[in-house]
């Protein structure tokens, strides 16, 4: 069965996430970060940061609320039993710090078939409360045996 590409170009509602010091601590511990800037406001400020920074990959935390509805959208029609997360890209801009409000908008950028696999490519763009871009992400999901 060929993949249904009709959801290509579909955009999803913005999702707002307020970044907090304790969530950064929890995430930083889970991934094994040991740089004091992630745990200690004094260390962060001494390093010239506005407040405790989020580790770069914390992008997955504030983007999740925007990406969930896009990936789960029945119009996109991903067969989850056969899906793998194939690839991921993040391009970081302005650093994210505790106290920031991050708004993320997701879009279904491309759907195509290659070698009997379905490729579902999503883009998310996250901006802070000043309108500065903090991250631009590309999420590639692959469905085997379409």
């Amino acid at each position: 069965m060929p993949v249904d590409t009709s959801a290509k170009g579909k955009k999803y509602p913005p999702f707002e996430y307020e970044v907090g010091k304790e969530k950064i601590r929890e995430y930083a511990h889970a991934v094994g970060e040991d740089n004091p800037v992630y745990f200690d406001r004094g260390a962060a400020k001494s390093a010239g940061l506005r407040d405790i920074p989020a580790p770069p990959m914390f992008a997955v935390v504030y983007s999740a609320g925007a990406m969930g509805p896009a990936i789960l959208d029945p119009e996109v029609g991903i067969n989850f039993a056969l899906m793998v997360h194939g690839g991921q890209e993040f391009v970081w801009g302005e650093p994210v710090c505790s106290g920031d409000t991050i708004t993320t908008v997701a879009e279904c950028k491309d759907i195509y078939e290659r070698d009997g696999k379905g490729f579902y490519v999503f883009e998310s763009i996250s901006t802070n409360q000043e309108g500065q871009e903090v991250v631009r992400a590309t999420w590639t999901n692959i469905v085997r045996g379409v």
Partner: protein, 127 residues
């Protein structure tokens, strides 16, 4: 940093409960990561690590090469291959492939017991 330079290796062994902590931290509670019984029922050898946890290790190794400043990592692109498992050491290695205008490009790999779990990882650092 110069083209051909290796970055310091990053080694860590995620313990048995790491996928649970990462699930809580990230919000990804897919049972293939936290329920061994479910994972084996769907044909996996065990519950498996989150791919984005592995990517976070690659991000750490690259940022560490730039002194650990979170602002230094400007881009990271990876492909997920193989499966990461808890209680096995992850080794992240990388090599500088390009240096220009204060930007360093690196190719990085994350392996577990010789099995590449993240490959074609390309990072850009701003120094």
């Amino acid at each position: 940093m110069n083209v051909g330079d290796a970055i310091p290796e990053l080694r860590m062994t995620p313990d048995r409960f790491l996928p649970h902590r990462y699930a809580g931290a990230s919000g990804d509670f897919n049972p293939i990561h936290i329920d061994k019984e479910f994972a084996t029922q769907v044909g996996l050898p065990s519950n498996i690590l989150h791919g984005l946890y592995g990517m976070a290790q690659v991000a750490r190794a690259n940022a560490a090469a730039a002194g650990g400043d979170p602002r230094s990592l400007k881009r990271l692109s990876v492909q997920f291959r193989g499966m990461g498992l808890p209680e096995q050491e992850i080794v992240v290695t990388g090599t500088v492939t390009d240096v220009r205008d204060g930007r360093v490009t690196l190719e990085t790999v994350a392996e577990q017991s010789g099995n590449q779990i993240i490959r074609n990882a390309q990072a850009e650092l701003e120094l």
